[in-house]
Symmetry: C2
Subunit: 430 residues, 2 copies
């Protein structure tokens, strides 16, 4: 029996179709039973009247439990009152398997319980909607760079050296050697940008951080573009265009999912170019005006990101942080060598840092000195220094965290719902 | 100074442009110097006549070493004899950095040396072409599934249990627990397919195999679709359509790169639907006819893949292998329970297995028995068994190895050239 997906019902009004899916919910009212069926693309209500089906099929309806698998055949009817706008007048129901008592019932459950049943929880409407928005964001990200001539390069996950310190690294035994799970593809991207001009990587990254916040995962996805012959201004311009592109795409293709998630869509619709630009020294002044207690010279923390997110309804680009709070590879601002040519993009509504990026140090001598100052293993960075030895150019890029972006666009309180199977502190099941 | 990319010269004939790149090669002939410049999007020859530039610029030309970074300004001229079809009549050359003596010269180098300098080797024409074909294949893969309603789900890299045995797993210390780097997202995909209907994952996978062949990497990318309500025939049909889609896309968008790689393009152009289908029992007969020594009941090895690849000029779908050589989750053929409802797709020209897939066991009792027989840790598979407890449906999918596909399409002898930074036995630098 050929299968029609619920998402395609709009093209099949008046026709007889077969939906293959699972029972989402049911109720009955005298001689009529209402079966809500989901198939992964949507949910549709099947209306089964005793007069339309065989007595066996009608009777069987009572025994179909939540999440039982079934194939329902019926005629598609447009009905504005129906969720999704369509209903099925059922002619037949074929049960594939009667499900055991499903652990996730329509009543409220604690998050710990739901996370233990993550493999089932993703079947629920809001979780599925979040995963679809995530997939849409991934496609938007890839289209943005592919259409602008960036070449995708998959940088390695197993790496010999640390990009930023070693305390938050997952260690792997590699045939007698020590290897680490990557925290960023940036250093490799600097090599590929020198080979291919404009490149990006987009893959999983890892951080063995003993923190249990709503904004941290041990394993998360990050997209990192890198451009040869680019400066901080280029990086900032690309960042804001990129974020607006993603939002527009999601608003266009996933509005229904945003509605399921009860997202304040107006807050996303008002995001527009250009984003406010605030230098770190300017930010210090603003913090004073706002009465926010902050030590000049420190890096921003979660409280600062929250304050900034409340004061602006647009993403804000904070640029030129003090050199000493930033990574060794950052280039100093020639106009003020205490400041780095870098930028953090902070989301509105308290969703925190979306992007970190900047211009890279391209002078061999300066970089050698920095590596020494940061007490990094010189040997592991030999190839990285080669990039400054053989045709060094001004270059830069940024990294955007996927799950943070999903959380922002979906309005998710907790980042763990923004990835199919989150990896958190002490939690690696399922 | 605004930048034009070499790939866009065709739209700038007669205009003055600035190319920002690196010196690929040079030669001189009396009062004319020829600078070949690459910028990642292509290579163009700049012709510098003593009469067209200042004496300082002309003289400086002698000192520009291979891979020095430079900006060249000149007028675009169409010239059929020129590689790429265009030349620049130079008016100015600005050197950004004079490169030290570049280790990779136009002479021949050993592969070991080139792999030690992988971060520089990717700048060469053939390596860059391979990486561009790879990026094109990735985009084709994602478009194929996205356009057919599959939802991308990123399955976890850090996993608590092994999909197929534990001897080839990389182990990671996870906050006092043991975790392993994933070898496949399939089991998770079975959960997401039950939630979303049609899904796919596409990420890095790992295999700690002590083998040093031309076809193995420790870290490689794999795409794995999974479909609820699908049987082996659906999986086979999707496999062949998928492979033809990828080839057509690469032939359309990356012909120039295939030519740089001296690929036999005709061999790719003749790949067409449907692919030959050969059952394992039929294959045993064919091996006898061909005089190839093979023990009935064994799995295929590299010699068998080579023989099959020589006898067909199309990818071949070998289906229904003996149950006992296949993984525990395979469904037995109801018509012959000794055979599994599975398929391997073998590439022509000796490029080996591209795809492995099939229909999954969907019966709870049978699967519980299988897990016991294979001595797998029951606890780790509790969630996986839940999928058969709550609305089990016939379902299936496959996995395609990215680097194998790149190797085939590029005609690469060695898979290590098909990923930017390969991870091989004892080799994790750069």
């Amino acid at each position: 029996m050929s299968q029609t997906y619920i998402v395609d019902l709009k093209n099949n009004v008046g026709k007889s179709v077969t939906i293959k899916g699972w029972l989402y919910n049911k109720r009955s009212s005298g001689k009529i039973k209402f079966l809500q069926v989901r198939d992964g693309t949507g949910i549709v209500q099947g209306v089964m009247a005793a007069s339309d089906v065989s007595p066996e099929v009608f009777k069987q309806g009572d025994g179909i439990t939540q999440e039982s698998s079934l194939e329902v055949t019926g005629t598609v009817r447009a009905d504005k009152r129906a969720p999704g706008g369509y209903e099925l007048t059922l002619r037949n129901v074929k049960v594939i398997q009667i499900a055991e008592a499903y652990p996730i019932t329509p009543k409220e459950h604690g998050t710990g319980f739901l996370m233990e049943n993550r493999h089932l929880w993703i079947r629920s409407r809001k979780q599925a909607a979040t995963l679809k928005v995530r997939a849409e964001i991934v496609r938007a990200i890839r289209d943005f760079f592919d259409d602008r001539g960036f070449v995708l390069v998959d940088t390695p996950i197993l790496t010999p050296a640390a990009c930023e310190g070693t305390t938050t690294l997952f260690e792997v035994e590699y045939f007698g050697d020590k290897a680490y799970l990557t925290q960023s593809g940036q250093l490799y991207n600097e090599a590929t940008a020198a080979a291919l001009g404009k490149t990006y990587c987009f893959g999983p990254t890892f951080r063995a951080e003993k923190s249990k916040t709503r904004k941290h995962l041990m394993e998360f996805w990050m997209v990192e573009p890198e451009i040869a012959y680019a400066d901080l201004d280029d990086v900032m311009k690309l960042s804001e265009e990129f974020i607006v592109f993603i939002i527009q795409r999601v608003l266009k293709n996933r509005r229904e999912e945003l509605e399921i998630l009860e997202r304040d869509i107006a807050a996303l619709e008002k995001i527009k170019l250009p984003f406010p630009r605030v230098s770190y020294p300017e930010l210090i002044k603003l913090f004073k005006e706002w009465g926010h207690d902050f030590v000049d010279g420190n890096d921003l923390g979660a409280p600062e990101e929250t304050v900034i997110g409340e004061k602006f309804d647009q993403p804000v680009m904070i640029h030129r942080f003090p050199m000493k709070v930033k990574a060794f590879y950052m280039k100093a601002d020639p106009k003020n060598p205490d400041l780095a040519l870098c930028v953090d993009v902070i989301a509105p509504e308290g969703f925190g840092e979306l992007i970190g990026g900047g211009q890279r140090e391209d002078n061999l001598k300066t970089l050698e000195k920095k590596i020494k100052e940061h007490k990094l293993p010189a040997n592991a960075f030999k190839w990285y220094l080669d990039l400054r030895r053989y045709g060094s150019v001004p270059h830069g890029g940024f990294g955007l965290g996927l799950e943070r972006t999903v959380a922002w666009l979906c309005g998710s309180e907790h980042i763990r719902e923004c990835i199919p199977f989150p990896r958190m502190l002490y939690k690696i099941y399922p």
